[in-house]
Symmetry: C2
Subunit: 301 residues, 2 copies
Amino acid sequence: MTLLVIGSVAYDTIETPTAKRENILGGSAPYFSYAASYFGPVQMVGVVGEDWLPEYTEMFAKNGVDTAGLEIVKGGKTFRWSGKYRENMNDRDTLETQLNVLGNFQPKLPENYRRSQFVFLANMAPSTGLTALGQIQGADLVVADTMNLWIDTARNDLDALLKRVDGLVLNDSEAKMLTGELHITAAARKILTMGPKFVIVKKGEHGAMFISEYEMYVVPAFPTETVVDPTGAGDSFAGGMMGYLASQRGNFDGETIKNALVYGTMTASFCVEGFGFERYTEITRDDIEKRRETFRKIASF
Amino acid sequence: MTLLVIGSVAYDTIETPTAKRENILGGSAPYFSYAASYFGPVQMVGVVGEDWLPEYTEMFAKNGVDTAGLEIVKGGKTFRWSGKYRENMNDRDTLETQLNVLGNFQPKLPENYRRSQFVFLANMAPSTGLTALGQIQGADLVVADTMNLWIDTARNDLDALLKRVDGLVLNDSEAKMLTGELHITAAARKILTMGPKFVIVKKGEHGAMFISEYEMYVVPAFPTETVVDPTGAGDSFAGGMMGYLASQRGNFDGETIKNALVYGTMTASFCVEGFGFERYTEITRDDIEKRRETFRKIASF
């Protein structure tokens, strides 16, 4: 099935307690797309400036990511984000954000993207997500990500968006913030009353949880010993998860959902082992399968 | 195989945001013993005062817990703990601690306890644990619990105890505190250099992790929707885990260890559904097996 993602594309400057990288490829759509591409073709929609490097287009093309929907704004500059991770590698401080071309992003989907069956609205302003959704017809599954910024500053748009999606993916802290609930399960149940038919709560090093009215699934995180750069882990999780779901041709039973959570866990675990796309460019689907088998030994009973 | 536990016995006064119970049975040894008793016989060592209720002795006897090792101090008063849970039901404040007879606790093991094959040193002063261990010969498996208080105030005794045990069970925050490491896996690996051959890190609502030099297993928590009283959850986890291990006659392969973590997760999940032993007295091994099957559907892949 075709899988479409709309989201941010960024050049990131990332500092960890031991290393630093400047202006490397980042953003929700690239991380999602690369992770999903291990499972099948992906269509990526986003916006970049004239500083976009053709080598990235090539990198995506080589992995089955169609970037025809990536708008390159003449005279524009790509969105830039700069952040610094603290000693614990979980918390981070944003040092600088330059919206640049992302500030006026009005997604225009290529004609052949508009009937995609699986759609992921990666992290972006909810109004932008709504604009994109307005161009899509008859999708089988629409899932959105969100973040604290939009819960804080664009609540009405977010509420409208939630009524239009089948699923929502968000962090545990964001789930609590969105609902005012103190517990993840209670928060997820409340989100189910806001529109989505299912909620996937990302708990970082503690794994992820899927909740719908009648189903619940939990998977722990893969116990990665070397976290080099956590940037993109959440989008990579969503990419592996949606990529696997799209490859299952609409099957949505319990085993398929758990496997989707597990594959998302796998792609996220590889993502954090290097800066940006360093690890992704080294691994194949076979490496993902091997780690899945290791994970089964570690966590399945 | 015989399973012996040495630990505190308490009368707890517990306040949650919605309810309160006064002077109900608690303590590490009772919670451990009851949870373990679903899997086989348990020998319990502890100390109580004259205010000990015979109905508790009966309750334990009925469930295969031998309380011959429970010292009743004439004219003494049982250890009392009083605490209040915050809105999130995870954090709690201790309101009052009366050590009473626990203050001078010198465990004297009955002769027939001294060759127990599985031994659990539940939460108590490390020096008391060392005194107990000195009376035990040829145990197959000695596992200890510990807590922040002893890491803070009895570090030398704790270090000596760690050199005498096969396994250590502790909370994630305690693992970090004991080692100065920021990540659970790194903390657990460091503990492996202090004596124990394996470490089990309890992560509360995020599950548990087992680490030895060559093995690692993780299980999520059972997603309990109704937490009435979290008191005793950690000891109940250890009880289910050790009870199952003891029932497996020394088998210690990967599947057995994972199952032990899962059974610990099950007993803990029942424990928190009521105050004190309310839920335990309602359930049977069959209820544990049924929930295990539900958990398998939720979390095994």
